[in-house]
Symmetry: C2
Subunit: 186 residues, 2 copies
Protein backbone atom coordinates (compact mmCIF):
# COMPACT_ATOMS: atom_id res chain seq x y z
CA UNK A 1 0.00 0.00 0.00
CA UNK A 2 1.44 3.37 -1.00
CA UNK A 3 0.30 6.20 1.21
CA UNK A 4 0.25 9.65 -0.29
CA UNK A 5 2.84 11.85 1.38
CA UNK A 6 1.99 15.55 1.38
CA UNK A 7 4.67 17.44 -0.55
CA UNK A 8 7.11 14.53 -0.44
CA UNK A 9 9.08 16.02 -3.35
CA UNK A 10 9.60 19.33 -1.59
CA UNK A 11 10.49 17.71 1.72
CA UNK A 12 13.03 15.39 0.11
CA UNK A 13 14.54 18.26 -1.83
CA UNK A 14 14.86 20.42 1.25
CA UNK A 15 16.36 17.61 3.31
CA UNK A 16 18.83 16.75 0.55
CA UNK A 17 19.92 20.38 0.09
CA UNK A 18 20.58 20.74 3.81
CA UNK A 19 22.65 17.56 3.96
CA UNK A 20 24.52 18.27 0.71
CA UNK A 21 25.75 21.49 2.30
CA UNK A 22 26.48 19.97 5.70
CA UNK A 23 28.03 17.37 6.01
CA UNK A 24 28.37 17.47 2.18
CA UNK A 25 27.19 15.77 -1.02
CA UNK A 26 29.55 12.79 -0.87
CA UNK A 27 29.03 12.18 2.82
CA UNK A 28 25.25 12.02 2.51
CA UNK A 29 23.31 8.81 1.88
CA UNK A 30 19.82 8.49 0.44
CA UNK A 31 18.77 6.83 3.71
CA UNK A 32 19.78 9.97 5.60
CA UNK A 33 17.89 12.23 3.21
CA UNK A 34 14.77 10.12 3.56
CA UNK A 35 15.08 9.99 7.35
CA UNK A 36 15.44 13.75 7.62
CA UNK A 37 12.37 14.23 5.43
CA UNK A 38 10.44 11.71 7.53
CA UNK A 39 10.02 9.44 4.50
CA UNK A 40 11.42 6.15 3.23
CA UNK A 41 14.24 5.48 0.77
CA UNK A 42 11.61 3.90 -1.44
CA UNK A 43 9.78 7.21 -1.59
CA UNK A 44 13.02 9.04 -2.44
CA UNK A 45 13.50 6.80 -5.45
CA UNK A 46 9.96 7.46 -6.62
CA UNK A 47 10.98 11.11 -7.13
CA UNK A 48 14.71 10.99 -7.88
CA UNK A 49 16.82 8.45 -9.77
CA UNK A 50 19.87 9.13 -7.60
CA UNK A 51 21.52 11.70 -5.34
CA UNK A 52 22.61 14.13 -8.09
CA UNK A 53 19.09 14.08 -9.54
CA UNK A 54 17.94 16.37 -6.70
CA UNK A 55 20.22 19.03 -8.19
CA UNK A 56 19.64 18.28 -11.85
CA UNK A 57 16.01 17.26 -12.22
CA UNK A 58 15.04 20.82 -13.17
CA UNK A 59 17.54 20.90 -16.04
CA UNK A 60 15.51 18.82 -18.48
CA UNK A 61 12.42 20.96 -17.93
CA UNK A 62 14.45 24.15 -18.33
CA UNK A 63 15.96 22.87 -21.56
CA UNK A 64 12.54 22.02 -22.96
CA UNK A 65 11.25 25.45 -22.01
CA UNK A 66 14.15 27.19 -23.71
CA UNK A 67 13.89 25.06 -26.84
CA UNK A 68 10.17 25.80 -27.11
CA UNK A 69 10.75 29.53 -26.63
CA UNK A 70 13.38 29.48 -29.39
CA UNK A 71 11.25 27.53 -31.84
CA UNK A 72 8.17 29.59 -30.97
CA UNK A 73 9.76 33.05 -31.26
CA UNK A 74 8.10 35.32 -33.88
CA UNK A 75 9.04 34.41 -37.45
CA UNK A 76 10.51 37.86 -37.92
CA UNK A 77 13.05 37.33 -35.11
CA UNK A 78 16.68 36.88 -36.09
CA UNK A 79 18.75 34.06 -34.55
CA UNK A 80 19.98 36.09 -31.59
CA UNK A 81 16.50 37.45 -30.86
CA UNK A 82 15.09 33.92 -30.86
CA UNK A 83 17.83 32.87 -28.43
CA UNK A 84 17.05 35.91 -26.30
CA UNK A 85 13.46 34.69 -26.06
CA UNK A 86 14.81 31.44 -24.65
CA UNK A 87 16.83 33.38 -22.07
CA UNK A 88 13.76 35.38 -21.06
CA UNK A 89 11.78 32.18 -20.58
CA UNK A 90 14.55 30.69 -18.43
CA UNK A 91 14.85 33.86 -16.35
CA UNK A 92 11.15 33.83 -15.50
CA UNK A 93 11.44 30.33 -14.04
CA UNK A 94 14.80 30.80 -12.32
CA UNK A 95 13.75 34.05 -10.65
CA UNK A 96 11.23 32.01 -8.66
CA UNK A 97 13.98 29.71 -7.38
CA UNK A 98 16.82 32.00 -6.44
CA UNK A 99 17.48 30.56 -2.99
CA UNK A 100 17.48 26.99 -4.31
CA UNK A 101 19.77 28.05 -7.15
CA UNK A 102 22.25 29.67 -4.75
CA UNK A 103 22.44 26.61 -2.53
CA UNK A 104 22.73 24.39 -5.59
CA UNK A 105 25.60 26.46 -6.99
CA UNK A 106 27.51 26.23 -3.70
CA UNK A 107 27.04 22.46 -3.52
CA UNK A 108 28.21 21.98 -7.11
CA UNK A 109 31.21 24.27 -6.59
CA UNK A 110 32.38 21.98 -3.77
CA UNK A 111 32.26 18.74 -5.79
CA UNK A 112 34.22 17.98 -9.01
CA UNK A 113 31.87 15.15 -10.03
CA UNK A 114 28.90 17.54 -9.88
CA UNK A 115 30.86 20.18 -11.78
CA UNK A 116 31.36 17.67 -14.59
CA UNK A 117 27.67 16.92 -14.67
CA UNK A 118 26.94 20.65 -14.80
CA UNK A 119 29.34 21.08 -17.73
CA UNK A 120 27.64 18.22 -19.57
CA UNK A 121 24.24 19.74 -18.88
CA UNK A 122 25.37 23.06 -20.37
CA UNK A 123 26.86 21.32 -23.41
CA UNK A 124 23.60 19.45 -23.93
CA UNK A 125 21.60 22.68 -23.57
CA UNK A 126 23.83 24.34 -26.17
CA UNK A 127 23.33 21.48 -28.61
CA UNK A 128 19.55 21.58 -28.05
CA UNK A 129 19.38 25.34 -28.66
CA UNK A 130 21.44 24.99 -31.84
CA UNK A 131 18.99 22.35 -33.07
CA UNK A 132 16.06 24.60 -32.18
CA UNK A 133 17.62 27.39 -34.26
CA UNK A 134 18.15 24.98 -37.17
CA UNK A 135 14.44 24.16 -36.93
CA UNK A 136 13.83 27.86 -37.53
CA UNK A 137 15.89 27.63 -40.70
CA UNK A 138 19.06 29.14 -39.23
CA UNK A 139 22.08 27.59 -40.95
CA UNK A 140 25.48 26.65 -39.61
CA UNK A 141 27.73 28.02 -38.35
CA UNK A 142 25.23 30.72 -37.31
CA UNK A 143 23.03 28.24 -35.41
CA UNK A 144 25.92 26.81 -33.39
CA UNK A 145 27.52 30.19 -32.73
CA UNK A 146 24.25 31.79 -31.62
CA UNK A 147 23.52 28.89 -29.27
CA UNK A 148 27.01 29.17 -27.76
CA UNK A 149 26.58 32.92 -27.27
CA UNK A 150 23.24 32.33 -25.55
CA UNK A 151 24.83 29.77 -23.24
CA UNK A 152 27.68 32.16 -22.43
CA UNK A 153 25.22 34.94 -21.57
CA UNK A 154 23.14 32.49 -19.57
CA UNK A 155 26.03 31.11 -17.52
CA UNK A 156 27.76 34.37 -16.80
CA UNK A 157 24.68 36.45 -16.00
CA UNK A 158 23.27 33.64 -13.86
CA UNK A 159 26.47 33.41 -11.80
CA UNK A 160 26.50 37.17 -11.36
CA UNK A 161 22.85 37.23 -10.36
CA UNK A 162 23.45 34.62 -7.66
CA UNK A 163 26.40 36.68 -6.40
CA UNK A 164 24.77 40.05 -6.12
CA UNK A 165 22.23 41.24 -3.61
CA UNK A 166 20.90 44.41 -5.16
CA UNK A 167 17.50 43.21 -6.32
CA UNK A 168 18.45 43.31 -9.99
CA UNK A 169 16.41 40.77 -11.90
CA UNK A 170 18.01 37.94 -13.85
CA UNK A 171 16.12 38.95 -16.99
CA UNK A 172 17.60 42.48 -16.74
CA UNK A 173 21.10 41.09 -16.29
CA UNK A 174 20.71 38.76 -19.26
CA UNK A 175 19.59 41.65 -21.46
CA UNK A 176 22.51 43.75 -20.21
CA UNK A 177 24.95 40.93 -21.03
CA UNK A 178 23.45 40.51 -24.49
CA UNK A 179 24.01 44.23 -24.98
CA UNK A 180 27.66 43.85 -23.88
CA UNK A 181 28.09 41.03 -26.35
CA UNK A 182 26.83 43.22 -29.17
CA UNK A 183 29.08 46.08 -28.14
CA UNK A 184 32.08 43.73 -28.16
CA UNK A 185 31.59 42.65 -31.73
CA UNK A 186 31.19 46.10 -33.28
CA UNK B 1 70.59 2.04 -16.55
CA UNK B 2 68.20 4.05 -18.72
CA UNK B 3 68.92 3.68 -22.41
CA UNK B 4 67.91 6.53 -24.65
CA UNK B 5 65.11 5.42 -26.94
CA UNK B 6 65.00 7.26 -30.24
CA UNK B 7 61.68 9.10 -30.54
CA UNK B 8 60.08 7.13 -27.73
CA UNK B 9 57.39 9.81 -27.31
CA UNK B 10 56.34 9.62 -30.95
CA UNK B 11 56.39 5.83 -31.01
CA UNK B 12 54.28 5.58 -27.87
CA UNK B 13 51.84 8.16 -29.17
CA UNK B 14 51.47 6.38 -32.48
CA UNK B 15 51.02 2.98 -30.83
CA UNK B 16 48.45 4.39 -28.39
CA UNK B 17 46.46 6.12 -31.14
CA UNK B 18 46.28 2.90 -33.14
CA UNK B 19 45.11 0.86 -30.16
CA UNK B 20 42.66 3.53 -28.95
CA UNK B 21 40.94 3.28 -32.32
CA UNK B 22 41.10 -0.51 -32.53
CA UNK B 23 40.29 -2.31 -30.22
CA UNK B 24 39.37 0.97 -28.40
CA UNK B 25 40.46 3.27 -25.57
CA UNK B 26 38.96 1.26 -22.72
CA UNK B 27 40.14 -2.07 -24.06
CA UNK B 28 43.76 -0.96 -24.32
CA UNK B 29 46.32 -1.36 -21.53
CA UNK B 30 49.52 0.60 -21.06
CA UNK B 31 51.40 -2.70 -21.36
CA UNK B 32 49.95 -3.20 -24.85
CA UNK B 33 50.87 0.32 -25.93
CA UNK B 34 54.42 -0.13 -24.73
CA UNK B 35 54.71 -3.54 -26.39
CA UNK B 36 53.49 -2.23 -29.72
CA UNK B 37 55.98 0.64 -29.52
CA UNK B 38 58.76 -1.83 -28.66
CA UNK B 39 59.27 -0.10 -25.31
CA UNK B 40 58.56 -0.79 -21.64
CA UNK B 41 55.66 0.34 -19.44
CA UNK B 42 58.23 2.20 -17.40
CA UNK B 43 59.14 4.24 -20.48
CA UNK B 44 55.48 4.99 -21.16
CA UNK B 45 55.13 6.50 -17.71
CA UNK B 46 58.17 8.66 -18.24
CA UNK B 47 56.23 10.45 -20.97
CA UNK B 48 52.57 10.14 -19.97
CA UNK B 49 50.91 10.15 -16.56
CA UNK B 50 48.13 7.82 -17.73
CA UNK B 51 46.25 6.60 -20.80
CA UNK B 52 44.20 9.78 -21.41
CA UNK B 53 47.38 11.88 -21.20
CA UNK B 54 48.33 10.70 -24.70
CA UNK B 55 45.28 12.60 -25.96
CA UNK B 56 45.47 15.58 -23.62
CA UNK B 57 49.15 16.34 -23.09
CA UNK B 58 49.06 18.97 -25.84
CA UNK B 59 46.23 20.87 -24.17
CA UNK B 60 48.32 22.58 -21.49
CA UNK B 61 50.84 23.79 -24.05
CA UNK B 62 48.06 25.04 -26.32
CA UNK B 63 46.44 26.91 -23.45
CA UNK B 64 49.73 28.59 -22.55
CA UNK B 65 50.27 29.57 -26.15
CA UNK B 66 46.79 31.10 -26.40
CA UNK B 67 47.11 32.94 -23.10
CA UNK B 68 50.46 34.40 -24.16
CA UNK B 69 49.06 35.49 -27.51
CA UNK B 70 46.15 37.21 -25.76
CA UNK B 71 48.31 39.00 -23.22
CA UNK B 72 50.89 39.91 -25.86
CA UNK B 73 48.48 41.28 -28.49
CA UNK B 74 49.13 44.93 -29.43
CA UNK B 75 47.95 47.38 -26.80
CA UNK B 76 45.62 48.97 -29.32
CA UNK B 77 43.70 45.68 -29.84
CA UNK B 78 40.19 45.45 -28.45
CA UNK B 79 39.12 42.36 -26.45
CA UNK B 80 37.88 40.40 -29.44
CA UNK B 81 40.99 41.20 -31.48
CA UNK B 82 43.20 40.01 -28.63
CA UNK B 83 41.20 36.78 -28.48
CA UNK B 84 41.51 36.47 -32.26
CA UNK B 85 45.29 36.61 -31.85
CA UNK B 86 45.00 33.61 -29.53
CA UNK B 87 42.95 31.75 -32.14
CA UNK B 88 45.57 32.50 -34.80
CA UNK B 89 48.31 31.16 -32.56
CA UNK B 90 46.33 27.98 -31.90
CA UNK B 91 45.58 27.50 -35.59
CA UNK B 92 49.27 27.66 -36.52
CA UNK B 93 50.05 24.78 -34.17
CA UNK B 94 46.99 22.68 -34.90
CA UNK B 95 47.43 22.92 -38.67
CA UNK B 96 50.64 20.92 -38.23
CA UNK B 97 48.77 18.13 -36.46
CA UNK B 98 45.62 17.61 -38.47
CA UNK B 99 45.84 13.84 -38.81
CA UNK B 100 46.52 13.42 -35.09
CA UNK B 101 43.65 15.78 -34.29
CA UNK B 102 41.24 13.80 -36.49
CA UNK B 103 42.12 10.51 -34.88
CA UNK B 104 41.95 12.10 -31.46
CA UNK B 105 38.48 13.52 -32.16
CA UNK B 106 37.19 10.10 -33.26
CA UNK B 107 38.59 8.40 -30.15
CA UNK B 108 37.05 11.01 -27.85
CA UNK B 109 33.69 10.84 -29.63
CA UNK B 110 33.55 7.11 -28.83
CA UNK B 111 34.16 7.46 -25.08
CA UNK B 112 32.00 9.43 -22.59
CA UNK B 113 34.80 9.64 -20.01
CA UNK B 114 37.08 11.29 -22.56
CA UNK B 115 34.27 13.62 -23.64
CA UNK B 116 33.99 14.83 -20.06
CA UNK B 117 37.69 15.46 -19.91
CA UNK B 118 37.47 17.40 -23.17
CA UNK B 119 34.62 19.53 -21.78
CA UNK B 120 36.69 20.29 -18.70
CA UNK B 121 39.67 21.20 -20.83
CA UNK B 122 37.55 23.66 -22.80
CA UNK B 123 36.11 25.18 -19.62
CA UNK B 124 39.61 25.60 -18.24
CA UNK B 125 40.78 27.18 -21.49
CA UNK B 126 37.86 29.62 -21.35
CA UNK B 127 38.69 30.60 -17.78
CA UNK B 128 42.37 31.09 -18.68
CA UNK B 129 41.51 33.30 -21.66
CA UNK B 130 39.16 35.39 -19.53
CA UNK B 131 41.98 35.89 -17.02
CA UNK B 132 44.37 36.83 -19.81
CA UNK B 133 41.89 39.47 -20.99
CA UNK B 134 41.55 40.81 -17.44
CA UNK B 135 45.34 41.13 -17.39
CA UNK B 136 44.93 43.42 -20.39
CA UNK B 137 42.55 45.56 -18.37
CA UNK B 138 39.34 44.18 -19.90
CA UNK B 139 36.58 44.25 -17.30
CA UNK B 140 33.74 41.86 -16.64
CA UNK B 141 31.42 40.82 -18.09
CA UNK B 142 33.32 41.71 -21.28
CA UNK B 143 36.31 39.52 -20.38
CA UNK B 144 34.19 36.45 -19.70
CA UNK B 145 31.92 36.97 -22.70
CA UNK B 146 34.83 37.50 -25.08
CA UNK B 147 36.58 34.38 -23.82
CA UNK B 148 33.40 32.34 -24.29
CA UNK B 149 32.97 33.66 -27.83
CA UNK B 150 36.56 32.73 -28.63
CA UNK B 151 36.00 29.22 -27.28
CA UNK B 152 32.80 28.87 -29.33
CA UNK B 153 34.61 29.96 -32.50
CA UNK B 154 37.49 27.66 -31.65
CA UNK B 155 35.37 24.56 -31.03
CA UNK B 156 33.01 24.96 -33.95
CA UNK B 157 35.58 25.93 -36.56
CA UNK B 158 37.93 23.20 -35.37
CA UNK B 159 35.23 20.53 -35.69
CA UNK B 160 34.34 21.79 -39.16
CA UNK B 161 37.99 21.85 -40.22
CA UNK B 162 38.43 18.23 -39.18
CA UNK B 163 35.32 17.32 -41.16
CA UNK B 164 36.12 18.98 -44.43
CA UNK B 165 38.61 17.92 -47.05
CA UNK B 166 38.89 20.98 -49.22
CA UNK B 167 42.26 22.28 -48.11
CA UNK B 168 40.77 25.27 -46.29
CA UNK B 169 43.07 26.29 -43.47
CA UNK B 170 41.92 26.36 -39.87
CA UNK B 171 43.02 29.98 -39.51
CA UNK B 172 40.79 30.94 -42.46
CA UNK B 173 37.84 29.10 -40.96
CA UNK B 174 38.34 30.74 -37.58
CA UNK B 175 38.40 34.18 -39.19
CA UNK B 176 35.26 33.32 -41.17
CA UNK B 177 33.49 32.18 -37.99
CA UNK B 178 34.51 35.36 -36.18
CA UNK B 179 32.99 37.28 -39.08
CA UNK B 180 29.77 35.27 -38.75
CA UNK B 181 29.68 36.07 -35.06
CA UNK B 182 29.93 39.77 -35.77
CA UNK B 183 27.22 39.60 -38.42
CA UNK B 184 24.91 37.85 -35.95
CA UNK B 185 25.12 40.59 -33.36
CA UNK B 186 24.44 43.54 -35.68
Amino acid sequence: MVRWQPNAHGRLEQAAMQLYREPGFEQTTVAEIAARAGLTEHTFFRYFADKPEVLFSGAAALQELMVNATVGAPESSGPLEAAAAALDAAARVLEERREFARQRQAIIAANPELQERELKKMASLGAALADALRQRGVRDPAAGLTAEMAIAVFRLSFARWLDEDNGRRLSQLMRAYLGELKALTI
